[in-house]
Structure formats: C-alpha cells, structure tokens
Subunit: 134 residues, 6 copies
C-alpha cells in the first residue's frame, strides 16, 4: 500500500457546550495542525498516489472554509459539538468529497485525517473509500 500525506493548519474559535468538557465549555480556540493521508494499493500513471498539488488544494479548500472562524457560528456545523474527533471526520469527509468530485477515477481507497490540537494531544479519523473509482 502507498500513501501520500499533506499537512496544513487552521486557527479557529469554538466552545464545547456540554458540562462533560469542564473549562472547555467556554469560548476558546485552537490551532489545528491537519494532516491528510491518501492511500491506494498501486501508483497512478505518473508514479504517484495523487498529484501533490491537487491533494494540497483539496485540503486548503476545506481548511480555508474554517480558518479564522468561530465554529460555533459556522453554517455547516450548526448543532454539532466540534470536538477534535468530530472535526477530523468533518475534514476527512470534506476532502474526500472534493477529491471524488474533481477526480472520479482517483483510485484512493482511504482518507485518514489527523488533527493535532497541542503537542500532547491529537485525534484522527479514517474514512474508507471502498466504492471509489478505479
């Protein structure tokens, strides 16, 4: 199995409105360093998993829609508790959607996202693309 990872980041505000989260219930923020890994069993005709420029643009489009925002008021996230885990899934699905739309025959089998919220804690989500093209 081959993989390609690209990394970006977003700086956002949010709150976690559930007593479970203690002090993180109040409005605070994070720099989410975001890694997306695309995997496939063989390389494409150019000898890559995916064009690295395209991979970066899919990630940057998603991060650009969240960056410098208060997630509590983001129209796509209304009613969602924006934990790091939940945001990892959101980013994975949004990146996979852009990939599927732009390159229906992409051959990617898995999209894995890691969101690093601080040096000592991070969360991830793995999205299978078993129905993907190729």
């Amino acid at each position: 199995m081959f993989s390609l990872t690209v990394r970006g980041h977003m700086m956002i505000a949010h709150s976690l409105p559930d007593p479970f989260f203690g002090p993180a219930q109040s409005l605070h923020g994070a720099t989410y360093v975001t890694e997306v890994t695309f995997s496939r069993p063989d390389l494409d005709e150019h000898g890559v998993v995916l064009d690295i420029g395209a991979a970066t643009s899919y990630l940057e489009e998603v991060l650009g829609s969240l960056r410098y925002r208060n997630l509590d008021e983001h129209p796509d996230l209304l009613g969602m508790v924006t934990t790091t885990e939940a945001m990892a899934r959101y980013v994975a699905e949004a990146v996979a959607t852009r990939l599927q739309h732009a390159q229906p025959d992409h051959g990617i089998r898995q999209v894995h996202v890691v969101l690093r919220e601080r040096p000592d804690a991070w969360a991830g989500y793995t999205l299978g693309c078993s129905d993907a093209g190729a």
Copy 2:
C-alpha cells in the same frame, strides 16, 4: 475508525543484561516519550473517543509508577528484560487495565503505544480490546 492520542514521558534508568545488547548491558537510562492512541469505530455520547482528561490520567498513573525509577529494581518488572518493545507492551496493558477498571463500557477496540527513546528510534505495541465493553 476514530482515534485519540495523548502523550507523556518518563525518565528512567535500566540495563539490558544480555550480551546481545553490547554497551546497553551496562546501567544507563532513557527519556521515553510515550504516546497512547485509543481507537473505536464510533464516538461516544459526548462526541469523543474517550474523555481526554481520563485518557491522560490513565497514562500518567502508569508513567508515574515508573518515572524516576531504576527499572532493574522495579517490583512489577522483576526478571523482565526492559527493552523499548517490552516496555511499550507493559504500558499498553497497564493503561488498558486502568481503562477497563474505570470505564467497563468504554467501547475502545484498540490501545496502541509508542515509546520514543531518541530522535532516531522508537518502538510500538498494539493491543486489541476485542472483548471490551460496548
């Protein structure tokens, strides 16, 4: 699959009493930067893999029992060759035991531990929790 990782460290002395280990047979030490990753297929009712405070406390309890110790004289490790690989398993099992005891219905399927002993070498152990609650 979702994952949550927390990181800590311990500074310990030990020796590896087997000629196989060359100079590491003598008493020396290490800072083990320790990462524990908990995985599960879906999120709990709070939208997380595990309460990050609980995850940190399970790890810190285990690291606290080893930190600033000579592992050669640690009662839980008597007769064990404390290689990085073996210590990764020890930490994974000890963390999983604490998790299982404190939250029998935790839903975690896997506990993965990485012990980084220096910038250019690290070891890991993956523990399945297939019989775990939920």
Copy 3:
C-alpha cells in the same frame, strides 16, 4: 551564560480588531505553545538556573489564567490588541513578576518567551532583569 527552558501551552480565542489584520479581525483562536527561557551567568547552590518545578509553576499559573478563555473579554487584556508579539511580552512580564515575588534573590538576568502559533510562525519577547536580585 546558563539557561533553562520550560514549555507549556494555552488554547484561546481572540480577534484582532484592526483592518490591518484582514481575516484575523474576526473571532478565531490559537493554540499557543509557550516556551520560557530563564538565563543567568552562573548556577545557584543546587547547580541549576532555577528549580524546574518552580519554573513550570510560574509558567502554568500564567497560562492557567489565560487558557480556555476569550482574550477579547479577559480583564487583564482590555484595550490590548492581543497579537502574538504582545502576548509574548504579557507572558514574559507575568512570569517575571511571579518569579520576583516568590524568589526575590533569583539571580535571573533575562526571561525570554516564545509563542508558537502554528508550525510556520512564532513570535518572541526578551525581558531583561538587570535589577534582579543576586
């Protein structure tokens, strides 16, 4: 010259209400990974720059007063544009004040703070303690 550095972090929300800051005018947030370096020309009677536990507690007290907060509403920061540079100075001065109060004879000549806001950007502030004890 000797130095000791301890590192912590804080996750905060804020806005930068000046058209100069473009999209960062809106409410967003950051994980500020925060390093404080204490320097002095010789070591104390214990052979250290400063008790590492004390150094950590000074930093953690300051970070604890900011962590999980919206800096726009923090009483100590009213009217201040909380740029990374300005926050580096705030942390340096607050840490130095705690040090001076707890250990008037500390012998520290300089407190240097770095706030890392994302992998590709950080800011620092160096505070001289020329009038400090010792």
Copy 4:
C-alpha cells in the same frame, strides 16, 4: 503487534521528467528523512523486534547507496520516475532484501517506509513479508 522504527536521511538530486510535475521537472533535490518500521506479532528470544543495530545498518546501507547522488544517473534507478512514493517502495524493498539475506529467520511480517521530503509532505509504502521466515 510489535514494531521497531529507525530513522536516517539522504540528500539527493533528481528531476521528474513528466509535464505533470510542473516546476519539479527541472533538476532539483531533496533531503529525504527516512523512517523504516519493522513489525512482527511477538518478540524474538532477546525481547526485541529486531536488533536495532542491524535495523540501522540495513537502512544505512540502502541510504548510503543513494546519498549524495543524482538519482537521474543512478544505475539502479534508470528509467524510473523517482517520485517520493516510488522511492519509498525502493527503500522498503531494498531494506527487506538485506534483512532477508542477513537473517532468513527474521520473523518480520511487514516493512513500512516513510520518506519525509519537507515539513508539510511525505509519502509511504508498506511491504508485506508474508512469506518471511519464522
């Protein structure tokens, strides 16, 4: 499952002669920070995945044959487009071959290689050793 990872690096020149690669068609270069992870379900008689000295020497032999070279003129790579993904496979296979030759009963089930080409991008390849000894 246990794992052991060792890390090295190589500094090479190469070009990617396909219009698909845009500016990377011209002769340029990279520092490839290279991680090799060996995995097996149980530990050997010394309590390790593999002798860390042997693991390092397999990796260094492979990196040493590439380091300070122009990959476009390397006899082992003629006609190959040396993308990061392709080089990850080359390193994995070359390391596995050395392992297999030196220790036919190695018990390793998987060799995973990551090549980090810059802070924000890296590629990987996972090689199964299902037919390996033990």
Copy 5:
C-alpha cells in the same frame, strides 16, 4: 526585544566543488527548511514586529527564486560555493533587501536566518540592520 519568525522551504540541487567536501562534491540536493526571524526593540503601530503576510511574502519571493533549481547554474550564485552557511547569508540579505525596498521605515534591527538541511544539522546567519529606517 521583540521578534517574529516565519518559516518556508526550498528543494534544490547543488554540488560543492572542493575536495574538502568529500562525497558532497558530487551533484546532490537538499530540502532547506528556512526560518527568518525579524527583531526590533518595540512594536509598530499595529502591535506587531512586521505584518506576518509581508514577512512571509519576502521570504517566499526569495525561496521561489531558488526552489526547484540547480544552484550550480543559478545566475545569482555563479562562482559561489553554496554551503548552507553561505546560503543562509544569501537568504538573509535577499530578504532584508526586499524589506528595505517595500518598507523603508520598517524599524527592524536584525534579520536572522536558519537553514535546516537535515534533522541533525543546520546553519545560521545574523544580519544587523543598524542603518535601517526608523
């Protein structure tokens, strides 16, 4: 003293044609992770050392003129032995020239550049701007 650092990178080929450099005499390459730190004694009217967008654009212009190039054939570097130290000076001077041209009243007193060529080695150059504006 306040400082602001921005980071970028460039992937280049070059050779060091002097027997002193041993195997690095042959054509090889590097990923130079490049940090530029701007320092000044006080903040500007916006509460920053320098507009972070401008700082990034000065660095990116310089890196963009070198990226994906063979430095041995770069017109600005003819006859220069492109050691990491020498390239650190080149980048510092080129960034300072762009700063001086775009913002003659910049108030920056020092430009410090670090070029990281691999995890275990890096070089730096500090350029005083004592004659700079403000």
Copy 6:
C-alpha cells in the same frame, strides 16, 4: 555572525543527591538530545563555519564517553551534581577543548550547547572562545 549546529544524543543514568530534587534524587536516567552550535563572524576559506564532519566528530567523541553510562560513577564527573545545566557546560567545554586541540586556528568565537531532556524542558550553556585562534 555565522553559526553551524550539529545534533547528537546520549542515554545515561544518574541521580541528583540533594533533597532539593525531590523524586529525581533516586537513580533514574535520560536521553539527552544534544545540540552544539559553533559561531564565528566570517566563514573560513572553504565557505563554512567549521567542517561539519569535524564538528560531528568532536560532539560524538564527547557523547561517546558518556553514552550508556551511569554518570554517578563516571571518573570525570565525581563529586559533580549532574544537572542538565551542569552537563551542558561539561559538553560545551569538552567539545571546545577537542576543537582547540585539533584546530588551534579555528576562528570560532562561541560554543553553545543545548541539552533537551524531555519535550517540555531543556537547558543550555554558552561558552565564549574570545581567546581562540584566528
């Protein structure tokens, strides 16, 4: 001013026999990731601060004399409290002595050592070489 930094590490055991150090009074250990920075105002005739191979060998000789040892029993350190700060000075002085012996006309003005003992704490020592050759 130009600088060159090389990095290595050592894994050692030691104790800090002073009640001031709390739990670190007992025998424990550390991986000290060790960076040495050499500085000089101009480059030598090869366009470098120092031959990187020589710089690495000075550092490795010093680390090699400490690595896999119990510092409490090391003949060069008898009676010394081996705090991170004190070890930073020891390494700086030992590296500078080797440099001075091997290259009396080295032109280096300063040797700066950082010892990283864990991700969140490190110490440094700066040694002036004002009387050094050239």
